[in-house]
């Protein structure tokens, strides 16, 4: 191959003169993105204005700094994180059980699962929390006859009511997510599992669920993030989570905005940490798939 650039009149052959098609000596001028500059300028202006408004508004920023690490707030943060993890764990366990039940050949199990999903998706979480918390109005005592019995008000603490309310509600949503994941696995995988002598339950646990996890994890991560924020609803049943504790403080000192900002900062921190954990988990379950490399 011979360059035509330096030799505009190739004489070696009858090759036609193509030198005027050569554009390699021109300088490339990149396209100017004027609209991007305009958009950026407008947004910087808007954000600047917003920051200025908050800086000059009636917010005592030193209170935000002061309460950010106060004991009551950190205790509330701990309770928020703990409740999110426990309620989510309960939700995932229930979700897997009810998803498998819903896909069972046994009609009793199938309808039970559908009923559960129907009921708990059909009512607001806050109402469910209040129902659990006020269970004592219906059943003054609970227990297993002959084994143990207790006063419901002693058992149904804010913690217990929040865990049951949030976890069972979450289970109804997670069941649908898990079911979608199970349906996403190729039928050939069930057949291959059967062909090496696996029962239905074992093939679900060893073959199908691990593959379904790829589909299940992203929405579950999403729901976990929702759960972090949903625990704030438990403030209505006096569970001592971060928003509840922030409210208690501002009822006393009237620094409403400052304490709401404190709670907001912590929610964002927790959700950010979770998002990072989620992408790691996704990578783990992507092994052996096309996008694992």
């Amino acid at each position: 191959m011979q360059s035509t650039k330096k030799d505009p009149t190739p004489s070696a052959s009858a090759m036609p003169d193509i030198s005027h098609y050569d554009i390699s000596h021109y300088k490339v001028m990149p396209k100017r993105h004027y609209r991007r500059f305009i958009a950026a300028a407008l947004i910087v202006l808007a954000i600047g204005g917003l920051l200025r408004a908050f800086a000059n508004g009636n917010i005592e920023w030193q209170f935000v700094g002061q309460f950010l690490t106060s004991q009551a707030i950190l205790w509330g943060l701990w309770n928020t994180v703990l409740m999110s993890i426990l309620a989510m764990a309960l939700g995932v366990v229930l979700g897997v059980i009810f998803a498998v039940m819903r896909m069972s050949k046994n009609p009793v199990l199938r309808y039970t699962a559908s009923g559960y999903i129907w009921f708990f998706r059909g009512t607001p979480v806050i109402l469910q929390l209040l129902l659990w918390f006020n269970l004592a109005l219906v059943f003054p005592t609970i227990g297993i006859p002959g084994l143990f019995e207790a006063r419901t008000v002693d058992v149904m603490t804010p913690f217990a009511a929040a865990l049951l309310g949030l976890g069972i509600n979450q289970g109804a949503y997670t069941a649908e997510v898990v079911r979608a994941g199970l349906l996403s696995v190729d039928n050939g995988q069930y057949e291959a599992a059967k062909s090496i002598g696996m029962t239905r339950i074992r093939s679900l646990r060893r073959i199908v669920l691990p593959q379904a996890m790829r589909v299940i994890i992203p929405p579950i991560g999403n729901e976990f993030i929702s759960m972090i924020k949903m625990t704030s609803l438990a403030s209505v049943i006096l569970y001592s989570e971060i928003l509840h504790n922030a409210q208690n403080i501002y009822y006393a000192n009237a620094r409403v905005m400052e304490l709401l900002i404190v709670a907001g900062i912590w929610y964002i921190v927790v959700v950010t940490v979770l998002s990072i954990g989620q992408s790691r988990l996704e990578r783990h379950f992507a092994r052996g798939s096309r996008d694992s490399a």
Binding site: G188, Q189, A192, I196, M198, I207, G288
Partner: protein, 254 residues
């Protein structure tokens, strides 16, 4: 020696469609039987009925002398439950057209999954046996590869090793080379040829007439849910008597 498979008036319907019409079939121990026929003729369905991936609607199927799917009590047939069917399936190994390897496991993990999880064999013993089988299919060096990293032919050979790891009495092949690129067909057929020579009982649904002619003890031609013609490979493939067999074979060859 008793036959490895006996089918008597086996009938299978999908809704109104009759996939198998009262099929009678007998496969001897150690025999290699090839089933050929146009698509939709019921040959894959028959294979899937033999290891109970499909439940038959009439007749009876015996594998290794055991009635499949039912237990005879007095004059009644009791349906078997999931666990009992899973146990009966251990007599057969199955190789699928689309390989169906477990994508989240390496080749080795695919092969040891059944022995460890189902047969409750020791991991060390399962691993040794699996490596021996992977060696037999020429893939010992790919033991740690995930299915996605293997070619179709390699995946199918791992799938054969996975089925053999359960030490089945009978191997079922459901068009094992139909999903392969032409240049990869040979390596899979070679593994199957070696397996046939080792004395394994095999039923192979295939379009590879050359393979059937070379390896099969008997060839069955199926059409429209029925067995049209059965015989030695030379007779069926070279001198088919039935008109439908003739037209099928000339269509495949041309």
């Amino acid at each position: 020696m008793r036959p490895i498979v006996v089918g008597q008036a086996v009938t299978k319907r999908f809704g109104d469609f009759v996939a198998l019409k009262e099929i009678d079939i007998e496969v001897e121990n150690g025999e290699v039987l090839c089933i050929i026929g146009p698509s939709g003729s019921g040959k894959s369905t028959l294979l899937r009925c033999i290891n109970q991936l499909e439940k038959i609607d009439g007749g009876g199927l015996w594998v290794d002398g055991e009635l499949t799917g039912y237990r005879i009590v007095g004059d009644k047939l009791h349906e078997l439950d999931d666990n009992q069917i899973a146990r009966q399936r251990l007599a057969t190994g199955m190789v699928f057209q689309r390989f169906n390897l477990f994508p989240h496991m390496t080749a080795l993990e695919n092969v040891i999954e059944g022995p460890i999880q189902v047969l409750r064999r020791a991991p060390k013993e399962s691993r040794d046996h699996a490596m021996e089988l992977l060696g037999r299919v020429g893939l010992a060096h790919k033991a740690d590869a995930y299915p996605i990293e293997l070619s179709g032919g390699q995946q199918q050979r791992v799938a054969i090793a996975r089925a053999l790891a359960m030490r089945p009495r009978l191997m079922l092949f459901d068009e094992p080379t139909s999903a392969l690129d032409p240049e990869l067909v040979g390596e899979v057929l070679q593994v199957m040829r070696d397996l046939a020579r080792s004395g394994m009982s095999m039923i192979v649904v295939t379009h590879e007439l050359g393979f059937a002619r070379e390896v099969a003890n008997r060839v069955v031609f199926m059409d429209a849910g029925q067995i049209v013609e059965t015989g030695a490979p030379e007779d069926i493939l070279m001198n088919p008597r039935n008109e439908r067999t003739q037209s099928f074979i000339s269509a495949v060859l041309n």
